[in-house]
Subunit: 361 residues, 2 copies
């Protein structure tokens, strides 16, 4: 007998990027940071006494919340610490959206969003982006007309790397009748002026998502946080969150990581430099590749390249280089490439060149 709810039985699971066993693989497929996390973290771990694990951890990660509040010039009660950004996304849905109510997102977007909506048995409104990945000017009206309870925007956008301005976000939020999540997983790689945090003070319907996975080189830690009006944060923090959602050791590491933000930002600057070099190389090879504000680029296979995006993904995979291909119709002739170390990016470009010679002749 199968006991699952119908929506669970019928749903497709989320598919994350491949994690190859081979330690020599060049991994440019899951937007991990190629540079190591802050050395201070090694020290925290070295000094950690396991006896401390005997007791329950601080329930709400208040030390981390204070550090994050200070960084963003908000109050502790504007911050919730979560198990990666993913837990925050789930909490937004289970706290603010009843089963059967609608969730808005763009098409395309982070492919986890529709999966989380389906777990809560919520229909989804997908607002198609314009050709240049910009948001249709009537996005908020479309969301309101569909009576959505939550709108999810990833900014910089995934998988294009396109950035919405703070002004655009402010205008969307003020027009929306529902909660707006601004998923800033990639915010640390922005090299233009951008700061959405003041919006959470002006607007009571915005939650900003941050994560230590990308900018802080800590994807393995599973630590993120949300910033928003206390009226939005409190029910997630006090009611819908699993009590003790964050273990003691990850809290200590996250505290040191955010305190060593300068190290992380230095890494991000290196990634930005590499992003521009990689994009130039791809353009020279005839790929279409918009400027990106994230730690990846989205590249369109040139006409006459001799193989499809999926074939390019597979050929590179055979050579031990992992990039990301999405079967989505809007992305069928594109691949997403995470920014790696200089030598990794060069090997990628060399491999594409050699493929081009073989296939494109």
């Amino acid at each position: 007998m199968r006991y699952e709810r119908d929506n669970i039985k019928g749903m497709q699971a989320y598919v994350s990027g491949e994690q190859p066993e081979d330690k020599q693989a060049i991994k440019l497929n899951t937007n991990e940071n190629p540079y190591p996390p802050a050395p201070e973290i090694q020290q925290v771990i070295a000094n950690f006494d396991v006896e401390a694990l005997r007791r329950y951890p601080p329930a709400s990660a208040d030390k981390f919340r204070d550090l994050a509040a200070s960084l963003h010039a908000v109050e502790r009660n504007n911050i919730i610490a979560t198990r990666g950004g993913d837990e925050l996304l789930r909490l937004l849905i289970t706290t603010f959206v009843n089963p059967g109510e609608t969730i808005a997102m763009t098409d395309p977007t982070y492919s986890l969003y529709p999966v989380l909506a389906q777990i809560q048995d919520c229909p989804v409104v997908m607002v198609p982006l314009n050709e240049d990945w910009s948001l249709p000017h009537n996005f908020a009206r479309q969301v309101n007309e569909a009576n959505c309870k939550l709108a999810l925007l990833v900014n910089p956008h995934a998988p294009s790397g396109k950035l919405l301005s703070t002004d655009t976000l402010a205008s969307i939020a003020s027009e929306l009748d529902c909660v707006l999540l601004i998923d800033e997983a990639y915010v640390d790689f922005i090299d233009v002026e951008y700061d959405s945090i003041p919006l959470i003070v002006e607007q009571d319907n915005i939650v900003v998502l941050r994560t230590l996975s990308k900018g802080y080189s800590l994807a393995g830690l599973r630590f993120g946080y949300g910033i928003g009006a206390e009226s939005l944060i409190a029910p997630m923090l006090e009611k819908t969150r699993d009590s003790y959602n964050l273990d003691l050791l990850c809290q200590l590491i996250a505290e040191v990581a955010i305190s060593s933000r300068d190290h992380a930002m230095e890494n991000c600057r290196k990634v930005i430099v590499q992003r521009n070099i990689l994009r130039e190389s791809l353009l020279q090879l005839g790929f279409d590749c918009d400027a990106s504000q994230a730690n990846f680029v989205l590249a369109t296979i040139p006409a006459g390249f001799g193989c499809s995006a999926q074939q390019l993904y597979e050929e590179l995979r055979n050579r031990g280089i992992y990039i990301r291909y999405f079967p989505d119709p809007k992305l069928r002739n594109k691949v997403r490439i995470s920014i790696g170390l200089p030598e990794e990016n060069e090997k990628l470009i060399d491999s594409i060149k050699s493929l081009q010679r073989v296939r494109g002749k």
Copy 2:
């Protein structure tokens, strides 16, 4: 404006036992293990290279699942690793119970259960236990008649420490029309014959919950797991679980902990010895105190003691000794005391004696 769902707006948050800042406090209130975790864990942490945190962790904790499968003589696909037992409880509800469908539990039980039901907007059927904390013989029939989709039993029972036999569980599971969760958070403190794991092979509707929080002295780690038929485990593992729910470091620690099970079991034997000594002392002081199979005892304040259970809790708290008091009507004249170190238990008894002299005269 408040955006929460009505069920979230109206619900009471879960209240966990107090975590005092004072490191000198005698903490007998949250069923933590008084003995330290396996020394091998310190070694794993000492050897850990933070660079490994740069990448996403193994998504399903397969190494841990293999170790747990081997320990319990089941297959990897019978195991799901979770962020404490709490995550497993949540997954059972979001996977198998639609909002509006009913969840069964006993009265009293682990006080988190009704909170989790309310987050999913599920009504609850509370089946009252008999006077001696035993289960009414028609428990399964009551659950079926209420058309429940999930029944939650904590065994050994919290907060009484009473154990249901494997035979009783087998007969309940075979009669039930729904999924049965057997929450074995305290299983490592049982000193009579008991093994429910073979039931998950015979029955396709049982999930057994285990945690490293109690028996393994790792409450601070937030690591638990579920054991059940593959048809029950798979949808939680592949669909409703947050992808990457467990960070790399906690996976490594959990692997070592379960591999060092002998150390944990030696600790548990010491707790059992202390449990019996503490119970004897309480009986001598006139408390009613049933034999417990968990790492706590439930003690009833004697008539003429001179103060209520709540007052006892508060008086002890003033002396830096933390025990647990529940405002539940069925538990109003009782306190739950976690088993501490020998000297902690002695201080507790001495404090109760001195209170008795002052108040009871």
